[in-house]
Assembly symmetry: C2
Homo-oligomer: 496 residues x 2
């Protein structure tokens, strides 16, 4: 693949001088248009050592208006990053809509290096690439434009370049890293080719650029960037909501009248004394398990969804009451801030992913996308339909990282809800919990039931299971949740 671009292309000083102003002007114009759009642009700067990626980054910073431009170098991982799924460090730096983010180093860097140095298997590498395709697809579906550059140098040119640069670094570590990379030129070349081929998709293609001549390199980058953004903008303007093919499994239960919720035995209950005894037992077990999880550096994510007044809050309090307050965090999902709206909807959940050894409890969650946003029509069908896959990918990343994921849907009957709503209206400190919206949601009971059924069907995976809890008796529900959590933690910690 790479030989095909080793053509020794060059641009003269004169030509560069003639063409540069035009490129700058166009880039600035495009930045202006971009600002008005909902498109975030991610520029991925990759390639071989010595190809001048840093020079490209500097050039782009010189050409463009830095007010709509962010540059992030992904170099050493911090401990905060290491303690979370690999992609967290990229999510936390994603450029917001209407701006451009330059990524010097990207989600490609580590998989390629690791495989070139032989520390990962063929299978691991293939899976990693498949995940990148998924990620880029997801971002692109969310209006992002990803422009991927690969800067190439022949083996000979690389050796020469590294020799020339060797005086520039005061840091001997970096010099030796560079030399190490150069000595593995062929391995890198082979692995990079495979990576490029596997991730060269129609929606985010690779641009291979011969990097021997700086002027040629930079003008090419400028032109490709202009073309890519222009094309994306015109496409975006032509149809603001492109109908995307929905590529999901058929889900037979989706329109069924009998849903998974109907199979739940809502008559299950616990006596007060029994409840008190079990509460004490499981709370103390959970407390101990959370300490153990901390020393083993295993984190937990616990998601609570359920009907209004199902008792999510009080169940959460039975859990937090058991855990040391330093070990957990509760995230109550409220309306997104404007920074959150300027990103993919999963961004605001990635923000709160727990560090190794800690517990995050979500009072409502990313499932809002396929529940309230679906039922109320806040998200388009093609948006929430693709969310099942996106959510599964997200949770798989948590699972693979070792995070223990548990999801609860607390189920109650319509009658029970009505009873609780009326009760809430009577008790002073419960009144804040009942709003007009709750009454309106009640009218959508059927639609929610269907949505819940589909959600559970599509997103209950081995690493991240849904537990449907019979909630008409609050005491029963709380103990059930505590039991499940304890069991799940025990099982996961045993295998650590």
């Amino acid at each position: 693949m790479f030989e095909a671009i080793e053509l020794g292309r060059k641009v003269s000083k004169q030509t560069y001088k003639e063409q540069e102003p035009e490129i700058r002007t166009q880039l600035l114009e495009i930045q202006g248009l971009l600002k008005e759009s909902e498109i975030p642009v991610f520029i991925i700067v990759s390639g071989v050592e010595g190809a001048g990626r840093g020079g490209v980054v500097n050039r782009l910073n010189e050409w463009m208006d830095t007010r709509g431009l962010q540059t992030h170098a992904f170099w050493d991982e911090s401990d905060e990053e290491r303690e979370r799924p690999h992609l967290w460090r990229f999510w936390r730096r994603l450029a917001p809509r209407g701006t451009i983010g330059i990524m010097f180093g990207s989600w490609y860097t580590h998989p390629i290096i690791d495989h070139a140095f032989g520390t990962t298997s063929e299978d691991d590498f293939d899976q990693e690439m498949a995940r990148i395709v998924e990620l880029e697809h997801m971002l692109t579906q969310d209006k992002a434009l990803i422009v991927k550059f690969w800067f190439h140098l022949s083996k000979k040119d690389q050796a020469r370049r590294i020799e020339e640069d060797s005086g520039k670094y005061d840091d001997s570590d970096i010099q030796s890293v560079k030399k190490k990379f150069a000595s593995h030129y062929n391995d890198f070349s082979r692995v990079s080719e495979v990576a490029i081929r596997m991730t060269d998709t129609g929606e985010s293609p690779w641009h291979l650029i011969e990097a021997t001549d700086e002027r040629y390199r930079d003008l090419s980058v400028g032109r490709i960037l202009i073309d890519s953004i222009k094309q994306r903008l015109s496409h975006h303007n032509a149809m603001c909501e492109p109908p995307k093919p929905i590529d999901t499994l058929p889900c037979e239960d989706a329109t069924a009248t009998v849903t998974i919720l109907d199979k739940i035995d809502l008559s299950r209950a616990l006596e007060r004394d029994d409840y008190k005894k079990q509460l004490k037992k499981y709370q103390s077990r959970l407390r101990e398990l959370c300490w153990r999880a901390r020393s083993l550096k295993r984190s937990s994510v616990v998601v609570f969804e359920g009907w209004d007044a199902a008792g999510k809050g009080s169940a959460i309090r039975r859990i937090t009451g058991a855990i040391d307050a330093r070990l957990y965090r509760t995230i109550s999902v409220a309306a997104p801030t404007d920074e959150e709206l300027a990103h993919h909807y999963l961004w605001r959940f990635w923000r709160h992913i727990p560090q190794a050894g800690y517990v995050t409890l979500y009072d409502r969650s990313w499932y809002g996308r396929v529940l309230v946003e679906r039922v109320e029509g806040f998200a388009h069908e093609h948006e929430w339909m693709r969310s099942y896959q996106e959510i599964n990918d997200f949770e798989e990343q948590l699972f693979r990282h070792g995070t223990i994921v548990n999801k609860f849907w607390i189920h109650i009957s319509e009658d029970e809800q009505l009873k609780r709503f009326k009760e809430r209206e009577k008790v002073a400190w419960k009144q804040y919990k009942i709003t007009d919206e709750d009454w309106r949601n009640r009218e959508q009971w059927g639609a929610y039931k269907e949505a819940v059924n589909e959600m559970v069907t599509r997103t209950s995976t081995e690493g991240s299971r849904w537990h449907i809890i019979a909630g008409n008796d609050k005491k029963f529900a709380r103990i059930e949740i505590l039991k499940i959590l304890c069991k799940s933690l025990e099982k996961s910690l045993e295998s650590t």
Copy 2:
């Protein structure tokens, strides 16, 4: 001090049952009112080991609506935190306006522990306390309410409590830490008393609570919280902009007609050849210095301010062109996001403080507060007047942490600006740089001059000096800036 509250106060189960609903109701009501206000509430939960601070945190989470409540436990520092000034970890977790943040562990924790264990001197400790008073004053001035709780146990009660709890922890580290703390009871007691006395201010007083009886403890917390927030809300409503006494040094130059800018010799210039030679020389020196700074883990903050069209952007590019793209970040200060508006105005600058070994370049900065916000009237006089002190404190923290701070004001004449504005209108890729606002700002030349003069006078400190650069000749200005930066880095790195 503490003996005075060792009174063995208790609340019976019956009384607790009677009073709790009222407290919950009021807390929820208050949360509703708070949501509509611009007040952020910070609850500081401190006290001796074993006093049940975790229990209080859990109780508050149980009583209040968790949608407007965040809990942050400040426990181990991460490397990202260690590589920045000590207070960064608190700034990044400050609750936004209209919400409540519970801080389990706070800016008090480390200073008290360090001093009780004898690792810091009396002087260090006193300074630390003075800084806390400054910080709390600053936040309070920005509408925050800080409610500080200290939970006390007698030595005997503490020993008993720790013994009782010893079974609860799976983590033997934590047990031994607790015992270590208990064995230093008297040291802690003494240091804590001093800390409390030094930071017990009228605007954010301490509340000492006897923690022997859980019910007494929790009801007390609830009541104090209700009273404090109520009082703050009524005060807030009564006068939305309380006229704060302005406690600053007299600044004689503020209204002078001759300002510091008039002393700058704007005729200084560089010949093209000389410029090229020096550019090469200083850029390569800077490149090398930045690598050295990285290996020594010293970070830099470089601030660029100046008249419109003074050449900030092009000067920044001469710097970034010299530094490896992985080592620097440019922050162009734009309009704040809603998350940024929901915090103290310095919050958005704290966000971007560089990690150890890296460089952050600010294209405009926190000085906007005393420049554009002052001149255009976006900030009230009492707000921008107190900013000098706040900014000095902020930069002192950077300096003390070892960050190398340099600030440039690029000065040009009014005529030179006019010439450049006209030129910008002619060159296609420069047109984006000139807006109606720029023309409007020109009319305020005198007011800006006065503001600049006062800014430089009040905020040029030893650890963070202003450099006023003659900018009529861009070549001269760029070399001057590079020279100063190199010299500053050299000097600072020598002393590392």
